[in-house]
Symmetry: C2
DNA sequence: CTGAAAGCGCTTACAG
DNA sequence: CTGAAAGCGCTTACAG
């Protein structure tokens, strides 16, 4: 595969490569005669010229490539984030390189190195537990980075998050007002701050309320979610629960939990009310419409790209964090 | 952000850039003294050197970048394809650039151009209707390309598909053997050959069978799938179907259809049996376990990368198409 | 209005 | 064992 270069055009047109470059880049300052301009465009067309961005990148030090690191691109939430980022990035002329960290700090670091070697102009990352140092290194190198969805304690890096604690608190208060006998929080056994925020919001609402209810926390690891959730619900919820509320702190947890409910013919909301963080098409298959907390994914993507583009064009060390508001979408699963 | 270069190392070590390059690339043929070798590694370490792959690419004409074009990365099926491709690609040192075509031939072409400009070493694409010419152009330029999931008529390009028609035929025969009064095929109104293959498989089984049943085809466009499927089922299935089988030719169609069933309290498999192409976690939320056709996604990804890597390293014009076998996973939704 | 030339950060035959 | 030099395909001040 031999592609044509600016040099080929120059030769055919009988001009210098400089002239070709000026014409093709529409640098009007250097007024090239209409005649040669036309000739150059024609030749470029006929020999099927496409610019070599690699060469351009080397010169300009810009690749128009953005690195995206998520936990797992096959995860519903992240694939939607990725899709929205892709669209917003394209609008600004960027293309996305994507990698999955699998919640592994080492792999996360490898990916940042790989992307850095590919000279991405910037990175959008969902950091994993233990990746503080990796992030700090990037910041120290003045590498444009923004976090999305997640953030890490003690690392000052710009990013986009939602008001996890607040929305969790508000929705929990709503739950409390309904007077359940038992409320179960299903969450992750994790150090990830954004997930802990959700839990703290839940706890805060509970402790500041005058209502009393039997409160339980079921925490599962990041792997084998489905089995763990089902097993724990079996132990703690039983087959014939009454006047109980389930609070799932992610859509994956919710899918696992709802699967348990439907398999055991537990009625929602008659026996158990359900509220879940994040949406997913899967809810459509559940007999009752699910009440969920909706993250403004499109807005998150837009702000992330904007923030990153800003950093790329004019780097300023800043830990600027933008917090967007999630909202509750109330459906029948909450009595 | 100013990164250090090979030149910086050379200066600090008091050697030439050539020597540094040889050492860093572990080219043992040119035996460099252990002493300078060590010095160079140390310096590289301390000044935090990372190679500029862009510069290397320009010289070697290899970027180790692979372009992936899917219909929509937020679609469950494609995000899983992407994830598997990512892993296989990484094993061979490639990184993935991802783009979504939205079933739009123009956007598909734009993406190929963009990727080509980024000098990707090759592309893995799920072509869209009308993208024959775009594909032909790439082939003509001897650009390494392999298709995945889909293929196009009359274009000779290597690729991976599954035996859509065969598996559809086999599963339909199975359905026929159960003696349903009514069988409804829910598919797409499309020209995409791999989807038509599924329909042809269904038709073939029907026409070559001695059994008779009321056969219906519900075809929907590629947009607004959910609403269309529900509306059509409402008209053609009704609220109290009996001894009927539903054949969904994709997981998105199945999710839409199952949602209709669950909302209308239609019992599976007592009233309606269900079989679906492709899996999704969403099935977990349906009261009955769904019988589905499982594509060997991991194997598809592996073969695609292997085929592409082969093309990249030794280009030979070939329309080699690899067909893998899908398999039926039988569950309770089929009586 | 146009071109010669330097240079981006590497690799690699070639010479010594 | 090591280095000088050419070159990958562009861009861009500078000169004319």
């Amino acid at each position: 595969m031999k592609r044509s270069s600016i040099k080929d055009i120059a030769k055919l047109a009988g001009v210098s490569v400089a002239t070709v470059s000026y014409v093709l880049n529409r640098k009007e300052e250097q007024r090239i005669s209409e005649e040669t301009r036309k000739k150059i465009f024609e030749i470029a067309e006929t020999i099927n010229y496409t610019p070599n961005k690699i060469a351009k990148s080397l010169k300009t030090n810009k690749t128009k490539l953005l690195g995206l690191i998520v936990a797992d691109i096959s995860n519903d939430f992240y694939s939607h984030i990725a899709r929205n980022l892709e669209d917003k990035a394209l609008q600004l002329g960027y293309t996305l390189i994507i990698g999955s960290s699998d919640e592994n700090a080492e792999k996360f670091e490898k990916l940042t190195q790989l992307f850095s070697q590919q000279q991405v102009d910037g990175m959008i990352v969902a950091p994993v537990a233990g990746s503080e140092k990796t992030l700090e290194n990037l910041i120290q190198l003045k590498y444009p980075v923004v976090t999305i969805d997640r953030y890490l304690k003690g690392v000052s890096v710009p990013g986009i998050t939602i008001d996890n604690q607040e929305i969790a608190e508000r929705t929990t208060s709503l739950l409390l007002s309904k007077g359940f006998d038992k409320m179960i929080y299903i969450g992750y056994e994790t150090e990830l701050p954004h997930l802990l925020d959700r839990q703290h919001g839940f706890e805060k609402a509970i402790s500041s309320s005058s209502k009393t209810a039997d409160i339980q926390y079921l925490l599962v690891g990041l792997e084998n979610i489905a089995q763990e959730v089902r097993a724990q619900l079996e132990n703690n919820l039983g087959k014939q629960p009454e006047n109980t509320a389930l609070y799932f702190s992610s859509n994956k947890l919710a899918v696992a939990g709802l699967s348990y409910l439907v398999k055991n013919d537990i009625k929602v909301p008659e026996q158990v009310s359900v509220i879940a963080f994040d949406e997913t098409d899967a809810y459509d298959l559940f007999p009752t419409e699910i009440t969920y907390i909706q993250q403004p994914i499109e807005e998150m993507a837009e702000e992330a790209i904007k923030l990153l583009d800003g950093q790329i064009n004019d780097y300023t060390a800043t830990g600027k964090r933008i917090t967007l508001s999630a909202k509750l979408v109330a459906k029948a699963s909450l009595k």
